[in-house]
Structures are given as structure tokens and as C-alpha cells.
């Protein structure tokens, strides 16, 4: 059975859960099936929310591991899990932490969620997450004026001209129909054998990645990047 794999990324509190929650209504009304996965770090309060959405879900905690690495390390298994449930749509919500990476892969559908009320430079700061997105959903659109809406959408199009920009208000549900139409025309997940990340993950395995807590150069091994070449001048 054909399966669409949709990864939702974006900064914390941008409205990823709200978008997914509304989208599951559209999926249900179309008589389709879905499986949901929420990636988080240490804990998440979203279990009770996901419980209400009426589709099988899994909450996955990355704990000691970077949540984006954690997602990529588990993507194949998640896709298998969704397929085993006969879910036509696999919706994965990322943890929304640093902006270094993009969890998007070649064959997944990447939705980047941006808060309309964030600063004008917010889209630029999202980096690869925004640049590699297929769809950009601007949330909380009811809180900004028409001109601001146009300015935000324009800025996003400048950064990622290929993406479809959708404005949404997840409180009233405005815009979700448009988002759903966009997802309907996106391709299904097919050639998993050659699927690959659209953007590299960070080149960093240092002492802190494996649990070091002490501060100072003598405790640091591996790939360590320094701000000052001369140690800041005093040492």
C-alpha cells in the first residue's frame, strides 16, 4: 500500500502539534488512515493530546541522543511501523530544538511550521529546516495583519522559492483545508533504498556528546570548534 511520510519541523511552540491535530481531522474526514509519531527529548506533555486524535501513535524520547539524529536513526523502523498498521499517512512531529539540521529526507514530505508572530528574521534563522521544506505552514495567522502576512510569506519565498506557503490558524482551523490539498498532491514514499537526508547532520562527536560535564580545554576531545583561536587571550 502507498504511504505518505510527512515530517513536521519547526521551532518550539510554533504550532506543530496544532497543525497535526487539525490535519488528523482532514485525514479522518477523507476516510483515510494515519499513524502518528511524536519525537521529544526528555519528556512531553503531548501524550494526552495525541490520545484524543483517534489514530495509533507512539511517543519517542531521544533522551541522551540528539533528537534529530534519533529521528533519522529510527526513520526506517517508523516507516515499517506505519506500514504494519496499514496507515496511509505517517505524521512525524520533531522535537523542535536547535536549527542546525533538517530532518527532511529525499522521499519524505517536509512541512516546516513557522509562527507568524515570531520576528521577521525567524525564517532566516531556521536554516536548513526552512530551506529544504516542501511546504511552509505559517501558523497563528489570525494574530497578524494582511500586510504582515504578505511580508512573512514573501520573506519565506525569497529563502525557499520552491516551497508552497500555507497560512493557518489552528484555533479556528483556517488554512488546514489548503494544507491538506497540498499534501494530497505530494508523492508517496517509494524508493526507501536510496532515501537520504536533504541536508547533512552536524559534524561533531566531542566529549560532551558522550556525557562529559566538566568545563575546560583539557577535558575536550574529538571535533571541538573554538570561537577564539588564541584561547580568548588570557590563558
Amino acid at each position: 500500500m502507498e504511504q505518505k511520510v510527512i515530517i513536521f519541523c519547526g521551532a518550539a511552540s510554533a504550532g506543530k502539534t496544532g497543525v497535526i491535530s487539525r490535519l488528523t481531522n482532514s485525514i479522518r474526514q477523507s476516510g483515510e488512515t494515519a499513524a502518528l509519531c511524536k519525537i521529544d527529548c526528555l519528556k512531553t506533555g503531548d501524550a494526552s493530546l495525541y490520545d484524543k486524535l483517534g489514530f495509533p501513535y507512539t511517543i519517542a524520547l531521544s533522551e541522551d541522543v540528539c533528537p534529530d539524529h534519533f529521528l533519522v536513526s529510527n526513520l526506517q523502523e517508523l516507516i515499517n511501523w506505519g506500514a504494519g498498521l496499514n496507515a496511509r499517512y505517517l505524521l512525524i512531529e520533531t522535537a523542535g530544538l536547535c536549527h542546525r539540521c533538517s530532518p527532511a529526507t529525499k522521499h519524505t514530505i517536509s512541512v516546516c511550521v513557522i509562527d507568524a508572530t515570531a520576528s521577521l528574521s525567524a525564517p532566516e534563522k531556521l536554516g536548513p529546516m526552512l530551506l529544504t521544506a516542501d511546504i511552509v505552514a505559517i501558523t497563528k495567522i489570525d494574530l497578524v495583519s494582511q500586510a504582515e502576512r504578505e511580508i512573512i510569506a514573501y520573506n519565506i519565498r525569497q529563502l525557499n522559492p520552491g516551497a508552497t506557503v500555507v497560512c493557518a490558524d489552528c484555533v479556528s482551523g483556517y488554512g488546514i483545508a489548503i494544507l491538506w490539498r497540498e499534501i494530497l498532491v505530494m508523492p508517496a514514499y517509494t524508493a526507501d533504498a536510496d532515501d537520504r537526508l536533504r541536508h547533512t547532520m552536524p559534524a561533531a562527536v566531542c566529549s560532551y556528546c558522550i556525557g562529559e560535564r566538566r568545563i575546560g580545554v583539557k577535558y575536550q576531545q574529538g571535533v571541538v570548534k573554538k570561537i577564539f583561536a588564541d584561547g580568548g587571550g588570557l590563558c
Binding site: 489570525d142 500586510a147 511580508i151 510569506a153
Partner: protein
């Protein structure tokens, strides 16, 4: 060029089919959307904004005949403030930049937007003022000027223009100046009678579409006199004059 927008029936709050065959909306007309709070006026507007295809809660289908330039439908909500942190002039320039290369606004300067805003605001806006420092009325005036002068929208949806502390008649004039199709959600009979037609919403459904009658035009004359009297008194009140 937009020829018309046709709305095909959806369902009301109880799931019953709406009691109309189709509602056709045309440019250069003003439509008032009326009905009780919670009756579904905003949902109706939202269906048009999303060009619903039986895929919203109301199950309505909206068909556009002709082109919506840039696909844009402008929405003037009840918000009275901006979230951007910049000056009025920077804001206008940012907005203009969205239409770079658009001949239509090639001759439009930040000053013309500001002038439009100042023609409806009761207190003058200055280019160097921070957006955050504007009053609710000034903000709304600038929003209206932006939609009217810069945004390339053929359709303008307005949620309750009378709550803005601005010159309502002048604001509507500005918004309609470019052959737009204008829809106004309103509870105010004066605003409703400025419109050519009223769409009555009840229990989530379009109950009927009324044409403004001759008798109503007479009512409008009386309401307009009252409106002018009140605005005039308001002007005197703000100026500290005697209210007579």
C-alpha cells in the same frame, strides 16, 4: 480579471443541507454578512478565503470564475495592532517590496500609503513612528491603506469595520476604489445598508440573500444622518467643544 465567485451549499450545524442553490458574488459589489454571534459568519468568510472545496467543516464549495491576482484575498480582521517591530515607513517599504516589479505599484510611494492612512485616521501617522506605538485606530487605518494601495487583492473580506475608531465611510471608499469585491461582517444596520446585498447566516447556514430595497434606502438616509450626527459629536467631544 475576476468575473465571479460562486458558493454551492454545504451543511448547517445540524448537518442539514443549506437552503439555497448557489450564491453568486461579483466584483464592484459590497456584501454584508449578518447574523447572530456564533451563527457562522466568520466560517462563511473563511470558506471563501480558503476557496473551500467541500473540505472544510461547512462542506461548502467555492468556485472562482476568472483569476484572483496572486491568488490573493485580503482579510481585514479585528486585530488593532501589529506584531512587527519597525517604523511605519520601514513597514510600508517591506510591504511594497512584496510586489517588486509589479507595474501597478511602481508609481506608488510610501507617502501615498501614508496619505491614505491619514485620510481615515483621526490622529495623524508619522513615517518615523514605531508600529508598536500606534493607537488601535491608527493601526487599523494603516492596515486598510496597505490593503487598498499595495495589496493586489481582488477580494477584500472585512470583519466588523465599525470597531476601529476610524472614518468608516472613507475607509470603505478606499477599500472599494479598485473594482474589488468587498464582503463585510457586520452587526451595524448603517454598514449593512451601504452594501448592495446582505447574506443572512443562521445556525451555520446561509439563510437567505437579501437585496437592499427602496424602503431600506430611505432607512439608510435616516441612519446615515444619525451616523453623521454621532461622528460630528465625536469630533467635538475629542476637541473639547460643546456638544450641541
Amino acid at each position: 480579471m475576476l468575473n465571479s465567485i460562486t458558493i454551492f451549499p454545504g451543511i448547517d450545524k445540524d448537518g442539514a443541507r443549506e437552503p439555497f442553490e448557489r450564491v453568486i458574488l461579483r466584483p464592484r459589489e459590497i456584501y454584508a454578512i449578518v447574523g447572530n454571534t456564533g451563527s457562522g459568519k466568520s466560517r462563511f468568510i473563511s470558506d471563501i478565503e480558503q476557496i473551500a472545496d467541500s473540505d472544510t467543516v461547512t462542506k461548502r464549495r467555492v468556485v472562482v470564475d476568472g483569476a484572483l491576482d496572486n491568488g490573493s484575498i485580503a482579510f481585514l480582521g479585528q486585530s488593532m495592532r501589529f506584531v512587527l517591530d519597525c517604523t511605519v515607513e520601514e513597514f510600508i517599504r517591506l510591504h511594497q517590496r512584496c510586489y517588486n516589479g509589479d507595474e501597478r505599484i511602481a508609481g506608488c510611494t510610501a507617502r501615498s500609503v501614508l496619505e491614505a492612512a491619514n485620510s481615515i485616521a483621526s490622529e495623524r501617522l508619522y513615517p518615523g513612528a514605531l508600529l508598536g506605538s500606534l493607537s488601535g485606530g491608527q493601526s487599523r487605518a494603516l492596515m486598510i491603506a496597505g490593503i487598498s494601495v499595495i495589496s493586489n487583492s481582488r477580494v477584500v473580506l472585512i470583519d466588523e469595520i465599525e470597531n476601529a475608531g476610524i472614518d468608516k465611510s472613507r475607509a470603505l471608499e478606499l477599500l472599494m476604489s479598485r473594482d474589488k469585491l468587498v464582503m463585510i461582517v457586520t452587526h451595524d444596520p448603517h454598514t449593512a445598508l451601504i452594501a448592495d446585498k446582505r447574506i443572512v447566516i443562521r445556525n451555520g447556514a446561509v439563510k437567505n440573500v437579501l437585496d437592499t430595497t427602496e424602503t431600506e434606502r430611505e432607512s439608510y438616509a435616516r441612519l446615515d444622518a444619525a451616523y453623521r450626527l454621532i461622528t460630528n459629536m465625536q469630533f467635538k467631544l475629542r476637541n473639547g467643544e460643546e456638544l450641541c
